[in-house]
């Protein structure tokens, strides 16, 4: 593989990984902090994508404003959903959460079908992000993908700052380490969980909104990403945002290079799962697992 091609493939891997990270970060928060297995996470991604489809004509060139509006709507939705529904799941066993959230996927899919229909839709990239930059003489790279990667990095930094440098982040980390102790110290766990859940939903929806112009909007789009998302979260170590970032990039590389390697490409589908199996066998709790959850 010539160097130019190799570097471009690396860029592809990183960009895919970053978008995965955005989606996985929400899941690792909900899973790691709240201990809730939420199979409907893919549905929130789909929700974000369809929101982008519905809102884009109204916001025109104000893409960033639309993203912000989408995030706020999703966060509000997550807040209400947690209060009305998920808060009942904490006392339940993990498996009951699995069953409940699976049923939720069905409900969301049908509601989506009833409200927006079953057609495939596209979301236009705003003019100021349209166009491509040349990558040497090989090919061009869409500006929008660079924007998407930058947005993911910005979110990653933002998450790091919130979790490690703010009071809210401190409470989140405390709640993750030892729920009862944190409650005993006066942390309002219920409200904390509600905020974390809303944040997780918002992150998933944001990932959907950012991905929408790239991936288009279609039925069942959540189920494909859901499983990769869980893989990323588990490889990185549940509850660890840095772990999710590392794992996302790893998955990005395995997925990208797996498709182009000469003999392996026939088995490319196996790649990510092989990676997960190997890592978990060598490091049974993921790469950067949080201790004491």
């Amino acid at each position: 593989m010539p160097l130019e091609v190799f570097l471009v493939q690396c860029l592809n891997a990183v960009q895919y990984g970053l978008l995965l990270f955005l989606l996985a970060s929400g899941l690792t928060l909900i899973f790691g902090i709240m201990g809730v297995i939420n199979l409907a996470h893919g549905s929130f991604y789909m929700l974000g994508a369809y929101m982008a489809f519905v809102l884009a004509p109204h916001f025109g060139q104000n893409f960033l404003v639309m993203l912000l509006a989408g995030v706020l709507i999703a966060a509000a939705f997550g807040f209400v959903l947690e209060w009305a529904f998920f808060s009942y799941l904490y006392q339940r066993e993990h498996l009951q959460q699995v069953l409940m959230t699976w049923a939720l996927i069905l409900v969301f899919e049908e509601l989506r079908s009833l409200s927006v229909g079953n057609d495939v839709h596209g979301v236009k990239v705003p003019d100021w992000l349209a166009g491509s930059v040349p990558l040497g003489t090989l090919m061009t790279y869409p500006v929008y993908r660079l924007f998407a990667s930058a947005a993911c990095i910005a979110v990653a930094i933002g998450l790091y700052v919130v979790v490690n440098r703010t009071r809210l982040g401190m409470m989140i980390r405390a709640g993750a380490s030892n729920r009862d102790m944190a409650r005993g110290l006066g942390v309002d766990i219920r409200r904390l969980y509600r905020i974390v859940f809303a944040g997780g939903v918002a992150l998933a929806a944001l990932a959907g909104m950012i991905a929408a112009p790239l991936s288009s909007v279609y039925p069942n789009m959540g189920s494909g990403v859901l499983i990769i998302c869980f893989v990323v979260v588990v490889i990185g170590g549940i509850g660890s945002i840095t772990g999710a970032l590392l794992a996302s990039l790893l998955v990005g590389f395995v997925d990208t290079f797996g498709k182009v390697l000469p003999v392996f490409s026939q088995y490319a589908g196996v790649g990510v799962y092989l990676l997960m199996a190997v890592i978990l066998i060598l490091r049974p709790e993921g790469l950067l697992a949080r201790r004491g959850t």
Partner: protein, 322 residues
Amino acid sequence: MANAKTAWLVPVAGAVALGLLPLVVTTYGQDLVMRIMVFAVFALSLELLVGTTGLVSLGHAAFFGIGAYITVLLSPASEAGSVWLLLPLAMLAAAAYALVVGALSLRTKGIYFIMVTLAFGQMAYFVFHDTPVGRGTDGIFLNLRPVLELGSAALDLGDRMHRYYLTLAALAATYALLALVLRSRFGRALAGIKVNEQRMRAAGFPTYPYKLAAFVLAGALAGLAGFLLAAKDAAANPELLSWHESGVVLLMIILGGLGHLRGAVIGAAAFTLLRELYGTYSIVGPLADHWQLTLGFTVIAFVALLPQGLIGLPARLRTARG
């Protein structure tokens, strides 16, 4: 409340009822019940892992699919294969893969164990879907269903009634086997592992071989279910190994009620019948178009109101009344 001595009455009565069912239902009804029975075997095999030993596997469909594929792949093209050969081979192949997966996965615990089993399930799926092993992504078909030769007589699985009763016999045998296993020392060791593995180890129990044995047995029984499905549909396709299928069987035993064998059977029946009910236009009219909504809400209601699963229904009704 049934006591230990009469606990076997209900399953036996159930088996008798299933045996008499073909007399009163249509051929379509018989196919539906057969499907339920196949999935009951599949669910029972997972119940051994999840309900009894506390090992949640999200890759169990791999063994199911391997059983089905072995049955179809090893059947001769122009004559009926022999059940004496195909059934044990199907179970053996599934058990072999279970041995490999279990040996590697059981080094992990909790959610990580779940994900590793998922990984191995997906790997098996991609082998059958993407490589020549599966002979195509659309699946493969059986020309002639296998035959069970007993001396001069033969049970031809091409005959619907023979199929039905063989499946029923397999279900009864699986249930009886697992009931015996649960009462045995092995079964009680598994229960102890589920409750507190560390304590078992402290008491000197080598938990790893026990867990592995349970995993392999569960895999073999899932392979049996796969054989039964291949005999029923005369087909195998890669989707049988997908995580969707693994998810469905897990949902069945959760819905039915974990920790009890009858929960697996009830869950398989309830899940299948609910999906059938909500998708049938002659029963629910235009609502059948929106079966995802009705099924979703029903399951949510079940989980909310019946934390023990469907087997907890009688108790719940009693407390509601009393």
